[in-house]
């Protein structure tokens, strides 16, 4: 009898431990991994593919956002004066990331409510709302729309829905993955990759990881010289250009003469 009772207790204890572990896993923080987490731009850099993967609680949807550092950008603004379009002056835009690309496992508006999208700066409307435009007298809605169009053309703004792959779950967790072809024209900077676990219209958890894009080798040395030894760099540029010009002329002339001699 006692043996049977102790066996029941043991089974009950093990069942409690197992369910507690599953809940714990289900409620656990999402995980995020980047491979590679550093992109090195050497002389023949030809872009890179970043594997973004991780796990979220089962039943959740996922949004992965890559953000660049916030910098103030300046633009020329065109306006109509009588029958012609002329430059009205400079517009300065700040308060938004220099690069914003969002990938999701489902349409963003189905995954999250408006307050969550705005609060976490997760879609075009949210980005529009958070822009700071100087001078404030400029036509705000048009500038906001035109700014995003310009960034989209540049490849530094985009929202791509339904592309994050969700795999089968295990112990209350599901894994996801995304192969991100890193934009070749994105400048070297410290980027932030953020994972938003979305459930019931809200962000239930969030985790971020840095993605460093840096110059290495010859490009790094040259960029450093251009900034730190500007006079030397400038003189070198002129000298190289002149030598290249005269050198090519010399080569072409020599080739022309040898061709004539050949005939």
């Amino acid at each position: 009898m006692s043996g049977t009772t102790s066996g029941r207790f043991r089974r009950l204890f093990l069942a409690c431990v197992a369910s507690a572990a599953a809940v714990g896993a289900a409620a656990g923080a999402p995980t995020l991994a980047l491979r590679p987490s550093v992109i090195e731009m050497g002389t023949f850099y030809d872009g890179a593919t970043v594997r973004i993967s991780g796990t979220v609680a089962e039943g959740s949807q996922v949004a992965v956002v890559i953000r660049g550092p916030e910098i103030e950008e300046s633009f020329n603004k065109t306006a109509k004066a009588g029958p012609i379009w002329i430059n009205e002056g400079k517009v300065h835009v700040s308060g938004v990331p220099s690069l914003f690309i969002c990938f999701s496992s489902a349409p963003m508006e189905r995954m999250l409510n408006r307050a969550e999208l705005d609060g976490n700066q997760l879609d075009e409307a949210a980005i529009r709302g958070q822009m700071i435009i100087r001078p404030p007298s400029m036509d705000q809605p048009i500038i906001r729309a035109n700014y995003l169009t310009l960034k989209r053309q540049q490849g530094t703004f985009g929202v791509v829905e339904g592309v994050v792959r969700m795999d089968k779950g295990e112990a209350g967790r599901v894994s996801f993955s995304l192969d991100l072809p890193w934009p070749k024209r994105a400048a070297p900077a410290a980027y932030q990759v953020s994972l938003y676990e979305c459930r019931d219209g809200r962000v239930s958890a969030q985790v971020s990881a840095p993605l460093e894009v840096r110059e290495v080798g010859f490009p790094l040395e040259l960029a450093r010289m251009a900034k730190e030894k500007a006079a030397l760099y400038g003189a070198l540029c002129v000298l190289i250009a002149m030598v290249a010009g005269f050198g090519i002329d010399f080569t072409v002339t020599k080739l022309g003469k040898s061709n004539l001699a050949g005939h």
Partner: protein, 304 residues
């Protein structure tokens, strides 16, 4: 095959850059124009930041004009004496032009003045060159060959400090090329370009230089003007991308060589009518741009 541009901070196909350089170099060698008014927009179109495009363009023009000027020098088309005076006049004019732009910017109407100057200058030069070349082509001979020896002395010819320029076959007061080139320098500074497409017609029509010598001499003075601009841009804005400039140069120096040879095969009138057509096309494009609603009211700010 892609290459990373360290100052621009982006990766771009090698052959696209060389091709863009070759196209502009061809024009440079053929007409003696720097091609800045064409190459900077092309570079911006392929994704180079505007400030880097403009500064690196100046650097590649140094290479292209060195190559073109050397080719023209061997062909006997560079008037060093006149070119040096033009260079001094151009630099003085550019310095005045930069100050004018500063004043206009403070008054808030610089951009309007720039665009209108472009249209008026390009329109006038292009139309005049086109009509004159067409008439000359119809006659079947160059106007310069039939210049009357005993033509009336203009007010300009009465100025002091006369000098003979044997390479160009003309005689002028030193003040004439200096002042005319200073005027072109002012216009070039206001318009933000090298000024080759103003300088060449000015040399042909006002200084009475033969077209081929005008092209060679213009390349000679562009070489020094752009060398100065490149150095200043590298010093103050750090926007010269030497890798980008070298790739453009590879294309443009080869293009300039071909352009110089093709130009030599064409008659002066044919060259003039081709250049006039390009100038008129650029003017028409600018005029259309003034009245057509732009697709985007914002554009990346570019230093002037």
């Amino acid at each position: 095959m892609n290459i990373f541009l360290p100052v621009a901070g982006i990766s771009i196909n090698l052959f696209v850059l060389i091709g863009a350089g070759a196209l502009v170099g061809f024009m440079s060698g053929m007409f003696g124009v720097g091609g800045g008014f064409l190459l900077t927009p092309i570079l911006m179109m392929i994704g180079i930041p505007p400030t880097v495009a403009a500064a690196s363009d100046s650097c590649q023009i140094v290479g292209a004009s060195a190559s073109g000027a050397a080719a023209h020098f061997r062909l006997g088309n560079v008037d060093l004496k006149l070119g040096s005076i033009l260079l001094l006049g151009g630099l003085a004019g550019a310095a005045v032009g930069v100050q004018i732009i500063k004043v206009l910017r403070r008054m808030g109407n610089a951009d309007f003045v720039i665009v209108v100057t472009y249209i008026v200058v390009l329109g006038s030069i292009g139309t005049f060159m086109f009509i004159e070349s067409l008439q000359s082509l119809r006659r079947g001979s160059m106007v310069a060959k039939h210049r009357p020896e005993g033509r009336k002395r203009s007010i300009l010819s009465k100025l002091p400090m006369h000098m003979e320029f044997p390479r160009s076959g003309v005689q002028h007061s030193v003040l004439v090329p200096f002042l005319l080139c200073a005027l072109v320098g002012i216009l070039a500074a206001i318009m933000g370009v090298g000024g080759g497409f103003i300088m060449v017609p000015m040399m042909v029509y006002l200084l009475r230089m033969p077209m081929h010598v005008a092209v060679g001499t213009d390349l000679f003075q562009i070489l020094f003007t752009c060398a100065g601009v490149t150095f200043m841009q590298a010093m103050s804005n750090h926007t010269v991308d030497i890798v980008l400039a070298i790739l453009l140069m590879v294309g443009s120096t080869i293009g300039a060589q071909i352009g110089a040879r093709v130009g030599k095969r064409l008659r002066g009138d044919q060259l003039k009518i081709l250049l006039a057509s390009i100038v008129i096309l650029v003017m028409v494009k600018m005029a259309i741009g003034l009245v057509v609603t732009p697709s985007n009211l914002l554009s990346f700010a570019k230093g002037h």
